[in-house]
Symmetry: C2
Subunit: 153 residues, 2 copies
């Protein structure tokens, strides 16, 4: 039995499943709300943060993207009034983002749709299987991948 290629097979399945679902969810958000999945991620992070909001740096970490990406994805959301950006009164370097009332409402609508979409996509799985899936996914260790060669330069 070719157990020696199972890891790559699992990785290809993982990539296909994730890309497929991400593409479908992104299309759903764009079609129904005119926003990308990236913007939903921002709203979601700010919703969890509540009234006190999040600093730009903290938002960057939650989104797991670069600082430049955060600046760019927040810009249209500020422009459209879904989130607001205020300078920290104590530290002039710090920008603090939080949801506006309008943003809270739109996020609630998006989250409800999102929840339904995901339930439909996972309909063939039992809750126990979903837990198993999560447990398995948590065993993957991307940080084990060596930065190797060029790093020696």
């Amino acid at each position: 039995m070719s157990d020696d290629r199972e890891a790559v097979r699992a990785w290809l399945s993982l990539l296909a499943a994730s890309r497929g679902l991400e593409k479908a969810v992104d299309a759903g958000f764009r079609n129904n709300f005119g926003h990308s999945i990236s913007r939903f991620d921002v709203l979601s992070a700010l919703d969890r943060a509540g009234a006190q909001g999040l600093r730009a740096g903290a938002l960057t970490e939650k989104l797991m993207v670069s600082d430049g990406a955060t600046t760019q994805v927040t810009a249209p959301l500020v422009r459209e009034g879904l989130i607001k950006r205020v300078a920290d009164p104590g530290d002039g370097r710090v920008a603090i983002f939080s949801l506006t009332k309008k943003g809270e409402k739109i996020f609630a609508d998006m989250a409800a749709e999102h929840r339904q979409w995901i339930d439909e996509a996972f309909a063939r799985m039992t809750p126990a299987q979903m837990k198993t899936l999560r447990r398995l996914l948590n065993q993957i260790e991307p940080e084990k991948i060596a930065r190797s060669k060029k790093d020696a330069a």
Copy 2:
């Protein structure tokens, strides 16, 4: 117990695992070979296709990207001589891509590294667990996500 949010939880885990691994693999390819994971995907598809190569349209399907993306990602690979593009003798509209000798060699090197990276990242899982993971991932149905509202327009 809150079984009613398991699907979203599983989806978030799936997204985190996939993005994390994809980011690590992409960084590895860039550091060690100066190519992105997208280019590796192209080389991989053409390697599987063998000497006869793939039409642009077929390549687009395998990559699960847009036709424009295929044009753009193949351009630097042609320029650097890893793949070649020839017009179909029978149908002037058709472009056929295939690996060059240089491309075959570079792909072999990249694939070997890739295999090792993935083995390391999945080291905590048994082959049986990897199979279970694949089986669970294959039950996800992104196509179930309705294109709803805007489509009615």
